[in-house]
Symmetry: D2
Subunit: 253 residues, 4 copies
């Protein structure tokens, strides 16, 4: 059974900051957001976690293996190097959507995202070492079948993008509704999901659902391990097997 | 009338690179993609352009004001600092979707995105100085009405994300189909669009369409200028007026 | 005759910032300083200039080709993305040391580096286009003869470092005293100098001086052009000729 | 008694890479070097270590607390995100200069820095947990007395720089020769040293030596702990005490 530790990282007072005293140059905001995310990816990844950019002012990270101190270090490091600060809220639950729900509530209770007085909250309790198992994380790595042949080398890039975006939107909604799982577009034609204890038929069902709903063909590799990094790497290898075997679903265990 | 110069920047052979000789750590790929995009944002922004991350291995940039040499410099700079190279294709057209179409075709004619021999193509012709006018770019900056009150401070972050994603997916499709325009999610609850010569009623119609289709409420500020930076900044100020006036559509000119 | 435009970039109030409210983590300060410098290098380099890290809180840049607006853009971009701001002062003179002197005075007149009220000064006048010539910049690229064979592959890394540091210290002092030129260590065993109108015998004399004073053997390639980038690249190619010919001084023109 | 673990990080084949097929743009090399160092600072700092830029193609890091796996992770992460790779060699010794000597030899035995076939060596043995104590690291943080008043706000920036460089050169040599310690300029007017078990009189003696030799006045705060981060932070606080008390040497324990 999975047991997901989600740390929601929210930039404090970001909306107002981007327009005070005047609206700031968009190219600089994009650079700031992307680099802050890139740094969070390294800080979390250095300890076997995963980080997803989601909305950029709200980053969703999987931090099984990081203790409270490690989360505080992320905050301190960002505050030392960026013109903004971040609040972090940790939630733990067998169901990823519930873990994120607990994390969201922790932040909301501490104060509004645009409350200029709310700064650098650190809320929630990480999993204790004794409670961790080798099945805590289940990570699925989806990609679109033959995207390059079908889309990238044929269509207008924006129409390729629209197709992939539709596929992602449908996948993200179904995985959340039917499987309590969180899915994130990670570039190219790839989506990585933090899953509940789904089995092979659940993945086949999900792939069929997306094909029927929006006519986008997916395949998926799945991994299961103690940390997001290990589970995710197992999922990448399983996806390679899909490519070699021509299969749609491969589990790494 | 608008005249949009789009430069499509595509990382050469990226899919194979990410899995050769073995799949690479996801947190490192995310860091690489985000920082490469952040750098492109600065390189383009330094000359009044705009850059959108789109799919990260394919970046869509608006480069009115950059000549061929300036595009080549972007390529050289990336090749000197990253473990990958990029091909760039320029397209120009009054309709943004057509400009991107021309750019896409330029790349496709040069070879597949996964052709290991295709490297650092530079294709297409930028607008000559004589052909540029102060109305070349029309940039629209959309955001979700009261997102923080309605979503961020109330819902589970993922459900907020799903709502915003749905709003974006519907907006991006409608703007492309009905108005030949390109829309990009840029973080938070914001979408920036590179528009054709849309007028106030076109924006009202678009906002109603999205409300009817997915029940997401948008407002928009629009700017028009010689460069993306100028038009985009005018759009940001117009959006501030929406916030002050309680209006849904404000044009900066 | 040379005509050097130096822009001195000084981080406002940095000393106090690094220790307020508490001393900040050294690894974060190093990351901040290095990345801010890396960004300045790109912003200046995007317009054919050069940037040297010098003391990191004071960066020395060569900005022939950048107008006042371009300098202001550097300030704005840094202020949008870093937790500190920077003041910039421009000085122009045939002698590099005098150009930097003028730039330094411009900043000092505006207020102390640790004056918490002094923020984002932009002082001084860039060269006007009409006054620019193809001989404005003379850039010299020195390196240590056979450093890898003699030092890196033989000695303790710190003793190699001490040797190179001694060589640099002597070169920097002599070039300033005897030739009004500014020299900067740029990594490895390389030093780049912004020179006055030195000729071949001046470079031979300098190399002998350093050999006699600290027993370090240098060779040098020199370039001359309208911008730092062009002159510097010519110098690099001239240094390659030294390597091929076994000579100690090569001029690119 | 101190017990220093030094990991020397050397970029493989860098000299040839910077000039092949042609010399690369200096501003891009500077950006690459600085960012790679900034990342190493974060990777090492994330585990309580310290990193010094030294010559940029050779980085000296203090890695007490990092095991072999953690060093390998640094290599993998750099290889995934930069166009170069790095070899790492670990040395441990009570005397910092000897630890670096052991690390240097480890690399030299594996092959030349410019051997195109030598890639990603990982050599040497980290301290085992059982052998670590709370006195393993002694870090000293020097700065120049009244540098801003005496230099920055009065002199030409380059002459300030020359003074600080002379002070550093003398300090680095004396600390190595007389105290087997490694000193690194870290920006501004600051030098951080990785020390052997020096006592208060050793620091006073060192400060007098530098004053007599080059007429530069230093003060110093010193810390002692299990990791570089802890010892370094204690040193920073001790330096603050110097500022408050007007003293020249303060020990944190």
């Amino acid at each position: 059974m999975t047991n997901t530790q989600i740390a929601l990282i929210q930039i404090d007072n970001y909306g107002p900051w981007t327009t005070t005293p005047e609206p700031r140059r968009e190219v600089d905001l994009q650079t700031l957001q992307s680099r802050l995310y890139a740094d969070v990816s390294q800080l979390v990844g250095n300890r076997e976690g995963y980080a997803f950019f989601a909305r950029f002012d709200n980053l969703v990270t999987v931090t099984n293996g990081l203790d409270r101190e490690a989360h505080r270090l992320i905050q301190t490091s960002l505050a030392n190097r960026y013109p903004v600060t971040a609040s972090i809220s940790i939630g733990v639950d067998p169901l990823p959507i519930e873990a994120l729900g607990a994390a969201s509530r922790g932040l909301q209770e501490a104060g509004s995202a645009q409350d200029s007085k709310r700064r650098e909250i650190l809320s929630g309790e990480p999993l204790s070492e004794d409670d961790r198992t080798d099945e805590d994380l289940q990570i699925a790595h989806f990609d679109v079948n033959n995207a390059t042949e079908k889309y990238t080398d044929e269509l207008n890039e924006f129409d390729t993008f629209i197709n992939i975006e539709q596929g992602y939107a449908e996948l993200m909604r179904h995985m959340r509704m039917a499987h309590d799982s969180l899915s994130f577009f990670v570039g190219g034609d790839n989506v990585i999901a933090v899953c509940s204890g789904m089995d092979k038929s659940d993945y086949h069902e999900t792939i069929e659902h997306v094909r029927d709903a929006v006519d986008v063909d997916l395949k998926v590799g799945v991994g299961r391990a103690r940390t997001a990094q290990q589970a995710g790497m197992e999922a990448k290898h399983a996806l390679e097997e899909c490519r070699e075997n021509g299969s749609l679903v491969e589990l790494g265990w």
